[in-house]
């Protein structure tokens, strides 16, 4: 005899109302309402005005620089971040633990502090910058400076995403490849790197997304010349200083949308690879 039964609420640990209520309330006040303000400001903007703002050469140059340098920085971080993560996990060498702890430095250091430190070292009179300067290479007040700062802040994202992946890497898989006659190079290219690909992609996108919005560590080293070394974040600040709130919002909207899309892409990457390898997220 089948009868329809309605399900009762499950007994729960105490505190649901208080914790859930406070979480939603605080999230709404601190994050969602301000976010909504930006969103509404952008979509209520006149379309022609929006296009005019965004197609201003200075804006285009800033966006090109921001996206280009962020992309390149993330790419460089993938190379050096992978090497770093691999060395830190697989090899033993002096000061390894110290270096491992230092990876998080860009996250722990206030961006303004990193900014002046990088600017000082890579300026044409600085510890490092003074060497390539005579050769005509400017490591500060140039787009190269922007790149250096963006490499700096994106670095931990690549390393920290790759480390657990390398740790989880089944070494028996590599041994199996070797036992089947593959050379070490073949093993790395055909077995190791493909299995690290999801982590590499995730690390890349995280570093890229972070670089897009970076401000503090860039502005000191960049020189901030309009059309040349001015990043999008700085342009938002200049627009605000000119009291052009609509213009600032338009650039912010584009930048934020791009960042969120990229982060959504990470989710999709994770979902795709988990489905393929049958792993649980």
């Amino acid at each position: 005899m089948r009868t329809s039964r309605t399900s009762c609420k499950r007994p729960q640990l105490p505190g649901w109302g208080l914790t859930f209520g406070f979480t939603i309330f605080y999230l709404t006040i601190v994050v969602l309402i301000p976010l909504l303000a930006l969103f509404l400001k952008s979509i209520t903007m006149d379309w022609n005005e929006f296009v005019a703002t965004m197609s201003h050469p200075r804006v285009l140059a800033a966006i090109r620089l921001t996206f280009g340098a962020s992309f390149l920085a993330a790419l460089i971080n993938v190379v050096f971040g992978s090497i770093t993560a691999w060395s830190l996990i697989r090899y033993r060498f002096p000061l390894r633990k110290l270096l491992d702890a230092l990876v998080d430095l860009p996250l722990a250091m206030p961006t303004a502090v990193s900014g002046i430190a990088l600017a000082t070292i890579y300026s044409h009179t600085g510890l490092v910058g003074s060497h390539p300067f005579p050769l005509g290479i400017k490591t500060a007040n140039s787009s190269l400076g922007v790149l250096i700062a963006l490499i700096f802040i994106g670095f931990p994202f690549v390393v920290r995403t790759l480390q657990p992946a390398i740790e989880d890497l089944d070494q028996e898989m590599e041994q199996a490849a070797a036992s089947l006659g593959a050379t070490r190079f073949q093993t790395v290219m055909k077995v190791t790197i493909p299995s690290l690909l999801p982590a590499i992609l995730t690390g890349f996108t995280l570093a890229f997304a972070r670089a897009l919005g970076e401000y503090g560590s860039v502005i000191f080293i960049a020189g901030n010349l309009p059309m040349k070394t001015e990043i999008a974040s700085l342009l938002i600040v200049s627009r605000l200083d000119e009291n052009d709130i609509a213009g600032a919002s338009a650039i912010a909207f584009v930048l934020l949308t791009a960042t969120l899309l990229i982060l959504l892409l990470i989710q999709a990457i994770g979902w795709y690879f988990n489905r393929r390898t049958g792993r649980q997220a």
Partner: protein, 284 residues
């Protein structure tokens, strides 16, 4: 669990190993070690006298004070939020849970400048609430409340982010055991949950505090750069640096750098502690 892996990989030839280690060390020295070193070097290069004066000067004291106020308000609030959010998302199942967790992470994804702008849009004179608040005599943007709000925003997820994965992993069996033994909700939380997450809380709070004291982008948008009034330490560093008062700028920077280094050390210690715990659990 996992078999004990061979850590020192002898598979790679020595020259590959040394090439990769060399690249790692070189890259990290240029990218991380030198900048960290230069902060302290520049701070004390002109002698301890200059260093002390730079830190005790009136505008520096004001900046330190304002940073402490911003951290003093935002850290406890975000700590409470972190506890509540972690409890709500790990002890219950409800539709939209993973969406909620992603939303908690949102402030990480939003650039500090955009965060500042968002607050200008809400509280600025041309914003939603600015005019109303101004008529009551409350100024948020270009004043201390704006600095505090911006700081709350950028440090919003830190405690929650530390607690959620940990509490998820720990499950709620211990809590159920306590409840079944007659403990109340608060007793369960204070006597069972809290001791299990205290180190993660400590680290989350440290991280939150370091970020709160060091936030630059968001705060610079919402503060008037009138020195000594709404300057936090990073804003003061910015002002000093642009005035070519390098030694004073680096002196202030060294405080924040020290805070950052302490945070890193705390993180390393916490990870070691957790690792030890896991090893112990596995060995029995």
């Amino acid at each position: 669990m996992a078999s004990h892996k061979l850590k020192a990989d002898s598979v790679d030839p020595w020259w590959v190993r040394w090439l990769l280690i060399g690249a790692t060390v070189g890259f990290m020295v240029f990218l991380l070690v030198l900048p960290l070193g230069v902060i302290f070097w520049e701070a004390i290069r002109k002698g301890w006298g200059v260093y002390v004066i730079a830190l005790t000067d009136r505008s520096a004291r004001n900046a330190i004070m304002l940073s402490l106020i911003a951290a003093g308000i935002s850290v406890p609030l975000n700590f409470l939020f972190g506890l509540a959010a972690a409890w709500a998302t790990t002890k219950y199942s409800f539709p939209g849970k993973s969406l909620l967790i992603s939303m908690i992470d949102l402030p990480f994804a939003i650039s500090p400048i955009i965060a500042g702008l968002m607050y200008v849009l809400v509280f600025g004179l041309q914003g939603w609430l600015g005019a109303t608040l101004a008529s009551w005599g409350i100024q948020v943007i270009f004043a201390v409340p704006g600095v505090v709000l911006a700081t709350i925003f950028v440090t919003f997820p830190f405690v929650a982010r530390e607690l959620i994965p940990l509490m998820q992993e720990q499950g709620s069996e211990e809590e159920w055991a306590a409840i079944s033994l007659g403990a109340s909700g608060w007793q369960t939380f204070l006597k069972v949950t809290l001791p299990n997450i205290k180190w993660a809380i400590l680290y989350g709070v440290l991280l939150c505090n370091a970020r709160a004291m060091g936030e630059f982008g968001a705060v610079s948008v919402v503060s008037s750069n009138i020195r000594g009034r709404t300057n936090t330490i990073p804003l003061q560093i910015d002002a000093l640096y642009n005035d070519y008062k390098t030694a004073a700028a680096f002196a202030l920077a060294s405080i924040l750098a020290t805070l950052g280094v302490i945070t890193l050390i705390a993180k390393t210690l916490l990870e070691q502690k957790l690792e030890q715990q896991n090893v112990q659990e596995e060995s029995t």
